[in-house]
């Protein structure tokens, strides 16, 4: 295995780490309006990286990924509201419960492929919604309101750490032996199995990692919202936004989820004041256009048409 050094890390990872480093250095001095915008951007980027583990790297489209985000939120709410833990501990609880759930669900649903996996993942999210409605400890239909304050600096550093770890793991997976196996699954799963790739185990590991980080990002999202309500928490829109971010940015790439998050989240903020209500129309058209004409997303297209960037972005 290659020794890790700054030179071997590659310009993309160094660039992302530098970007995150600058944000961390100036977070305390940012105007609050900008800071809250950055926090949400990082949350959406973390969600994009989380779905990138399974959908981007293996090609398994998870329409039900909102389930893990919601479970992360409910873990936080239970930890803070019932167990009276610090919100960061609540975020960790939500992430771990999401990890366990992803292992359980993945063990069954990852036996399906293609559209069957997509449908199965969506059904699990629906099932999660109905289960939460019946569990009074999770607030049932009433949801849970948290007695937390407006804590932007705490939100920022929590999601910053989550995102930095995600980027690191994405790099580690795509640049190690694991990456070869995963790429072979995406190219041809049956052929991969014949050459000794343990496809089922690899997919399950990725799905679990994916669930872990979706749960963690969900925890920060609902910490910021001071509560969680089932109808909003299980909205399919979140899954679609996550998918849109990696389709636009570039599926399975290291930089794509960040580009996708910037494109989708910042444009959504723009549409709060301009062309109100057209956000999803435009994002929808953009996703269709990219899927048809630029299927490798922003990163893949840049690598394809700008040779100078091939060695710089991945």
């Amino acid at each position: 295995m290659r020794r890790l050094s700054l030179r071997t890390l590659g310009p993309t990872l160094l660039g992302i780490l530098a970007f995150l480093g600058v944000l961390a250095a100036i977070a305390g001095r940012m105007p609050l309006v900008l800071l809250t915008l950055v926090i949400n951007l990082l949350i959406f980027a973390a969600l994009a990286y989380s779905i990138n583990f399974i959908t981007g790297l293996t090609g398994y489209v998870s329409f039900g990924h909102v389930l893990f985000m919601a479970v992360g939120g409910y873990g936080l709410a239970y930890g803070v509201g019932t167990l009276h833990w610090h919100p960061v501990a609540g975020v960790a609880l939500g992430a771990l419960v999401s990890l366990a759930l992803a292992l359980g669900i993945g063990a069954v649903t990852l036996r399906f492929r293609g559209v069957y996996f997509a449908i199965a993942s969506q059904v699990t999210a629906l099932a999660g919604f109905y289960i939460v409605l019946e569990v009074q400890e999770l607030g049932g239909g009433q949801g849970i309101v948290l007695n937390v304050g407006f804590e932007p600096i705490a939100w920022f550093y929590t999601i910053w750490v989550i995102l930095a770890i995600e980027v690191g793991i994405t790099y580690w997976i795509t640049h190690g032996r694991l990456g070869y196996g995963i790429r072979s699954i995406r190219a041809d799963e049956d052929a991969a199995k014949t050459v000794g790739v343990h496809a089922a185990a690899l997919k399950l590991v990725l799905f679990a990692i994916s669930g872990l980080f979706a749960g963690a990002a969900g925890g920060v999202y609902y910490w910021q919202g001071s509560g969680i309500f089932p109808n909003e928490a299980f909205s399919l829109t979140f899954s679609l936004i996550m998918l849109a971010m990696i389709v636009i940015g570039g599926m399975g790439t290291l930089l794509g989820p960040l580009f996708g998050a910037v494109a989708v989240y910042l444009s959504s903020q723009y549409f709060l004041t301009v062309l109100i209500g057209f956000e999803f129309v435009i994002i929808g058209v953009l996703v269709v256009v990219i899927a048809l004409f630029l299927p490798e997303g922003i990163v893949g297209t840049l690598r394809k048409y700008v040779p100078e960037l091939r060695g710089l972005i991945e």
Binding site: P31, V33, I39, G141, V145, P230, L272
Partner: protein, 435 residues
């Protein structure tokens, strides 16, 4: 030669008399001057102090877009009334109000970025909460963090105040837990042996409202024989309605919003007929005029709770008789002004509750004679007034305790306020006939 005769000088007025005259004239001049100054001063317009910016996010798109737009129209109507009636006076200066708002897309995630923008970039002095309990929950910590008074007009879940400490969040509307209380009270008073079935949407508001009503009914020794929620996206409730009927229920309460309310009513015709439930009370949907136009005869005798209706009879005289002070337009004036600003539309209760939030805030600022958050919040905590929306009084947490819900019922195609009796324009009809 004779000495010339000197003409005799006229007798001089006594010195003291001239002095009195001079003093009298001077006094008169001063008096006239003071009177003129007083008249001038009194007729002088109070100096204009400036504009008070009230900031908020509102749902112009997304799932709450209808309620959000109605709320915004209500706020604009009251803004028009306040500014057209001299604004508010603080420290001897007149202030008008202006609005600063953004679309939050009905998404809690946008609240955290919009309110800092409203407060920091746009310098709003006071805040209104967004529409809905979920969005209000997300906005409330910002009010405390930035030390701004925030008036809640669309977040009615009790848990916002009971489950957390929100110093600056003030509720103007009735809380969710008393929405269906009027219906239960009426049943208890008139048909205490009726068995109740509850079927309600699985959202925060509907669950809270219905569960609270069931708890209240049971505390009155009324029988609850069916209790079931359904997802807000449900398209078929026939199984649940059949189950409720088979459980032996006489009455049906619950619902959630317009679409599912209509679904319940349509499916009652095929699943719970001959005889239909004797009493039906559904949240939100019943107050909409479209409920009657869609259902025609089968809407008759269906009841539903409402925060406000144009027919309510709150007035300055009513306030006086209750020992309360009155502020703002009458319900008729609000309705008329709303119509003139919105192409003749009739205000729904979302418009009224949102408008009332600005009105109460204006009254509190004027009473506090200050823009200071602590002073205005303290004034809101001690006020007990009446306006076109009804009574306003909060407890120490900011939870509304004085405002009354009204119970409406469709009767021969017309929506009547049937409870409370002192502001009703009709009496409750029983049983529901199904057609």
């Amino acid at each position: 030669m004779s000495e010339p005769v000197q003409a005799e000088a006229p007798p001089a007025a006594p010195r003291s008399r001239r002095k009195v005259l001079a003093i009298g004239i001077a006094f008169l001049v001063i008096l006239v001057g003071v009177a003129a100054a007083a008249v001038y001063y009194l007729t002088l317009p109070t100096p204009f102090g400036g504009t008070i910016k009230v900031g908020f996010s509102i749902s112009l798109t997304g799932q709450f877009n209808v309620e959000g737009k109605n709320s915004l129209n209500g706020i604009k109507t009251v803004l028009n009334w306040i500014n057209g009636h001299g604004g508010v006076t603080v420290q001897g200066k007149v202030y008008n109000f202006s609005l600063d708002y953004y679309d939050d897309q009905s998404t809690p995630g946008n609240i955290g970025t919009l309110y800092p923008r409203i407060i920091q970039n746009d310098n709003a002095t006071f805040l209104l909460a967004p529409y809905s309990s979920g969005l209000t929950t997300a906005a409330a910590p910002l009010a405390d963090s930035y030390d701004k008074v925030m008036m809640s007009h669309g977040g009615s879940s009790d848990v916002i105040w009971t489950g957390s400490t929100r110093r600056n969040l003030v509720e103007v509307l009735s809380r969710a837990s008393i929405y269906l209380k009027g219906a239960v009270d009426w049943l208890h008073a008139n048909h205490p042996s009726d068995k109740i079935a509850a079927l309600y949407a699985a959202d925060s508001f509907s669950t809270f409202a219905t569960q609270a009503a069931l708890g209240y009914a049971q505390s009155l020794n009324m029988a609850v024989v069916y209790n079931q929620s359904y997802p807000t996206t449900a398209t078929d409730l026939s199984t649940q309605l059949t189950a409720a009927k088979n459980a032996g229920a006489d009455d049906l309460i619950g619902g959630g919003h317009y679409t599912d309310g209509l679904l319940i009513m349509n499916q009652l015709k095929t699943t719970w007929n001959a005889p239909p439930p004797k009493f039906v009370s559904l949240l939100v949907a019943v107050t909409e005029p479209a409920f009657q136009s869609q259902l025609a005869g089968s809407a008759n005798n269906v009841t539903g709770p409402s925060q406000w209706e144009t027919a309510v009879t709150y007035s300055p005289t009513f306030a006086q008789s209750a020992g309360l002070s009155w502020y703002g337009p009458t319900p008729a004036e609000f309705t008329q002004l709303y119509g003139s600003l919105n192409n003749g539309d009739v205000p729904a209760y979302h418009a009224a509750e949102a408008g009332a939030s600005l009105l109460v805030l204006a009254n509190a600022i004027q009473r506090a004679n200050s823009f200071n958050t602590t002073a205005v919040r303290a004034q809101l905590g001690s006020m007990h007034i009446m306006d076109f929306f009804g009574e306003f009084q909060i407890d120490s947490r900011g939870l509304q305790v004085a405002h009354s819900m009204v119970l409406v019922q469709w009767q021969a195609g017309a929506k009547k306020v049937v409870l409370p009796a002192d502001i009703a324009d009709g009496s409750c009809q029983y049983p529901y006939s199904g057609a």
